[in-house]
Amino acid sequence: MNVLKSIFLILLLISSQSTLSQLRIEITGGAEDPINIAVVPIDWRLEFPQEEYLHEIIKTDLESFGEFKVLPPKGMLSFPSTEEEVFYRDWRLLNVDYLVLGHANKSEIEGDLKITYFIFDLAREKVIHKAIMSGPIKSIRRVAHNMSDKIYKKIQGISGIFSTRLAYIDKPSADDKNYNLRISDIDGYNGISLFSSPQPLMSPNWSPSGDKMAYVSFEEGTSRIFIQEISTGKRKGIKLEKGINSSPNWSPKGDKLAAVLSREGNPDIFLYDLTRNSWRQITEHFGIDTEPDWSPNGKSLLFTSNRSGSPQIYQVNIRTKRVKRLTFEGTYNARARYSPDGKSIVFVHRRDGVFHIATQKIKSGKVRILTDTSLDESPTISPNGNVIIYATKKLDEDILAGITIDGKTKFILPSLQGETREPAWSPILD
């Protein structure tokens, strides 16, 4: 028995030795190029012609942030619609990394269509995703965005944001004397006006379930926070207090709003309980405390305060009310938002008189300026943490622009109606 044991141990030693001595090569980075993907026009097996082409909407979606390069149909050698029709070598010759194909049929559900689709990894010659997507024919764009989300998630590993929406505010123009609170799909389609007023509107903020919007309206002659149900248009003002009532920010559970009241003599952070309709004071300081943002875990708030002499970002624990300063670089840091993982903040940072959007890992304290535009404000982060949309100016006009968190891809939002400001990204809507 002992002999066997020692033989076993020796063998174990030898085998472990060989693993230890095995050469390890570190791959520390990859190619900066976008991922090449081909989306074959879906084989349409319904009687009536398609009004919009799925592959075109998916192409626009995937190319939005510089992460993908989508091969247009005219570059394709064949149009397979099933696994059997795929000749891997042909696609690899076109330098394509991934392939999406499928066919659309009528669904058993009235008014719906059914798309069976596949995603291929061409280098490994295997199907990495196979599914049936169903949805209303009337909302083909929505179905396409859903497919883009699935493709994105499979390849990038994080949620796609192609089915999300953006809220923003239009200011009065020659065509429309009113301020408008609008929402549209993230690609700019299907824009609707939620509320219209000759008096200013500010600070739109989505509820975590995406069904309500909180915002500030001056329709009563002073700032007041309103909550509006998006699908019905029903709105209600929350309990008005003396002075400023503004900067509403929904809690992750949707049961409270963080906001700013100056009823005690100067702007402080308060919480509004939506069930009890009551206010509770969180910060108490003679300076300006404003722009609260709720942490993803619901335990703390970011806010802007000038208590040290100029605007800086602070964090307050809601339970203990302990305040901690987060920013130390520069003399103007304001309007911070948590990243979805709660580890970083994105905020407005002034350097050499220019207002940029910057980011900082909360722990390290190091500021990284993202934008090279100026007069930047109101950053909003995509729910997957990858993209930031913000307000800025171009030739004296208010526009919305965007940048990926790595700073590599920059874009301007498709021209929306008039001059727009205060973008707010919806949560993942489902």
Partner: protein, 154 residues
Amino acid sequence: MTLTRKSFFIILSFFIAACGSISNERTSDASAVSTSASGAYSDQGLTSSNILYFAYDKSDVNSEGRAKIRNLSKIINKEGLSVRVEGHCDERGTREYNLALGENRAKTVAELLVINGVSSSKITTVSYGEEKPAISGSNENSWSQNRRALIKTF
């Protein structure tokens, strides 16, 4: 004479047109739009004696401003008027922070009115932050005209 009458009617019609066009049927809790305030929503109808200007990021009133306040206070007290002070900022910086700065400006002016004998019960203050600029443009000329407090009497 006719000119003043004409301009009065023009201004009046402007005020009427500017009164809120929001349907109130959908609001359940919101109070009705106050008609007295609705006429005081713009810079229209104000002369330079009602407008005070401020330095960037500051809410202290200069000597010119204090003189204006002194003069206005006399008229306000004599005619028993009510006052609405509006604080405004230029576009630089974040919107909500500017709402707070605007309030500082409005409050500073209100305090000076009180010092000059106006009853505080007659004064309301509002901040519009950067939301209602007097003039558009991203340059110091425009910005300096937007950093203001308006003293509206009625």
